[in-house]
């Protein structure tokens, strides 16, 4: 029984193809787990029992044919920022509480074509703005490792679902760390691919120059299998890159004793200084020791401008958000106030009622930095410092192949601990934001636990378009360690 819900995408896919289990049986098992966990975790906004079982029956029919699609019958969940045709898509906002998407996001279509079964839509920070999943209109998600703690954010529901074995994989989006940070805080893998690899078509936009679709799974191999289905050129997103298709799992599978011989791992001084929790630092050191055993060498590097990534982000992301979220005006879709005097009053009341406090704060921040007289001082300045940060990485990759360090400065914090101090909350993303500013890929993998039993993640970053190699570097670590196989008590059986 437990192999049904603790199975990986690769394992379940193989069992489904070998007809050792049916997708209906698997989907029914996972739907029951999702439903049973909902009261404690609040990981889902919408559970689509009927739709999931219909898709599972269709998948079983495909699995009976000679050539089923690669992920036929594998149940997954989508972050509720992804448009799913005919299914409620809320972005965890009152603004879209009753919004039924009229079409599928590109990555949703990709995973549908690969044969996956959609269990439902996962809870998130409202409009993906947050690092703890506490800004959701539908209430916070709880961390399955300890229900008093946050799962991270903004893709907290997807992360909690995969960690609690409610589904083997789930989609997410990463604008400043919204996949990697929750993956770290819940003890699973989370990949942010190179910007432009996965189309943003059908994502409810937050910050368009940074928003990146990606995924959660328990192994690096599974991340590769999902990326194969999600990547690809899409003319409907003008920033989608037209590159040849590739198999992101192609580098996996080396059985050499030192499969990573010669790999140069850069250790940025700035990621190992004060402010990093001692348990996190110890777990990262232990993981690096494991990498040395696998044949890698470590080199000290400097990323002197990375400390500026948080202030840069909090200019660029709110600026883009204030523009993107201007579409919610109570006219064409979304919440409209019940009482108003004229058109302006209708806009103002609809937006005041429809958006939560964090979203409003970011819209106001963005409006200010783009307003007359401040554009050069803030927005242009931030774009210039963004260039300095990207240049740091270009220089670093002349000395190393991968960059490793903590994903977040500390493990999960208690629900409510940081809600009144936005700057403290923002500093959670100090190590993850740079990869959004540069657009290069990065993954968080589980590497241990702190003294309270909360998971610790390590971030592995690499240069543009090197996902296949990045995934193998994570995969090789998972061949000799079992952190990724640990399940939270209460969700292990």
């Amino acid at each position: 029984m437990s192999e049904l819900f603790s199975g990986t995408v690769a394992g379940l896919s193989a069992a489904l193809r070998a007809r050792k289990l049916s997708s209906v049986e698997l989907t029914e098992t996972l739907l029951r787990r999702v439903e049973n966990a909902q009261a404690a975790l609040n990981a889902f906004v919408t559970i689509d029992r009927e739709g999931a079982l219909a898709q599972a029956r269709a998948a079983d029919a495909l699995l009976a044919t000679a050539n089923p699609p690669p992920l036929a019958g594998v149940p997954i969940a989508h972050k509720d920022v992804m448009m799913t045709a005919g299914l409620r898509t809320t972005c965890s906002s009152k603004m879209l509480a009753n919004f039924v998407a009229p079409y599928d996001a590109h990555v949703v279509t990709g995973l549908k074509n690969a044969g996956t079964v959609l269990l439902g839509k996962t809870n998130m920070d409202e409009f993906a703005m947050g690092s703890s999943n506490e800004t959701s209109h539908f209430g916070p998600v709880r961390n399955p490792w300890n229900l008093d703690y946050v799962p991270g954010g903004s893709s907290g529901g997807s992360a909690a679902s995969v960690a609690a074995r409610l589904c083997p994989a789930a989609s997410g989006t990463d604008t400043g760390g919204s996949i990697r940070q929750p993956a770290s805080l819940t003890g699973i893998c989370g990949l942010k691919p190179t910007y432009g690899t996965c189309s943003r078509y059908g994502l409810i936009a937050f910050a368009s120059s940074l928003d990146t679709p990606g995924m959660f799974a328990r192994t690096a191999e599974d991340c590769g299998l999902l990326l194969n289905a999600m990547a690809g050129h899409d003319p409907r997103d003008s920033t989608s890159l037209d590159r040849p298709r590739e198999d992101y799992t192609r580098d996996l599978g080396s059985t050499e004793r030192q499969p990573l011989a010669g790999l140069r791992i850069g250790l940025p001084r700035e990621y190992f200084g004060a402010g990093v929790d001692p348990d996190v630092a110890a777990a990262i050191e232990a993981a690096l020791a494991e990498y040395r055993k696998l044949g890698a060498i470590t080199v000290d590097i400097g990323l002197p401008n990375v400390k500026l990534s948080v202030p840069v982000y909090y200019v660029i992301a709110p600026a883009e958000a204030s523009s993107n979220l201007s579409r919610f005006d109570g006219v064409r879709y979304g919440h409209r106030a019940a009482k108003y005097t004229d058109l302006l009053d209708m806009y103002k009341k609809s937006r005041a009622e429809g958006f939560g406090a964090e979203v409003k704060r970011r819209i106001l921040t963005g409006t200010y930095v783009l307003s007359h007289g401040y554009y050069d001082a803030y927005y242009l300045k931030a774009q210039q410092v963004r260039r300095l940060i990207a240049d740091d990485f270009t220089r670093a990759y002349q000395q190393c192949d991968m960059i490793m360090g903590p994903t977040a400065p500390a493990p999960a914090f208690k629900i409510g601990d940081k809600t009144d101090d936005p700057v403290q909350m923002y500093l959670n993303d100090i190590f993850t934001i740079a990869a959004n500013l540069t657009g290069a890929p990065a993954i968080s993998i589980p590497v241990g636990f702190d003294r309270r039993g909360l998971p610790i993640g390590m971030q592995v970053q690499s240069n543009y378009f090197t996902e296949a190699r990045l995934l193998n570097v994570a995969h090789q670590f998972q061949q000799t360690t079992d952190w990724h196989a640990r399940a939270p008590t209460g969700y292990a059986s």
Binding site: P102, S238, V315, K348, L364, Y368, A377
Partner: protein, 95 residues
């Protein structure tokens, strides 16, 4: 360049978000802390640095100037709070 309470009311109007006096003070307090952090950028020398607007320095793609969109008005208008005869209804703006 310190952000004032008047600025909060001004930008809330620009952003079309109704805000009352109590909420404005709370927002003002938090925005001051956020801008104290953002203002670290002012100390950085960026003379001659080309702004980076995007992760990939690629040209925006062009397509043929041909109609590609299909008429989905009925589908999209099902999402609207108020429609009539294929039009979106809003409060009267012209007397």
């Amino acid at each position: 360049m310190a952000l004032t309470l008047d600025d909060v009311h001004r930008i809330a109007h620009l952003a079309r978000i109704e805000i009352d006096a109590v909420a404005a003070e709370e927002v003002h307090r938090k925005l001051l802390a956020i801008f104290a952090m953002i203002n670290e950028l002012q100390a950085v020398d960026t003379t001659g640095i080309v702004p980076m607007a995007h992760a990939q320095d690629v040209m925006l793609p062009l397509r043929d100037d041909a109609v590609t969109a299909q008429d989905q008005r009925a589908l999209f208008q099902r999402l609207a709070p108020a429609v009539e005869d294929g039009l979106y209804l809003v409060p009267r703006v012209v007397e």
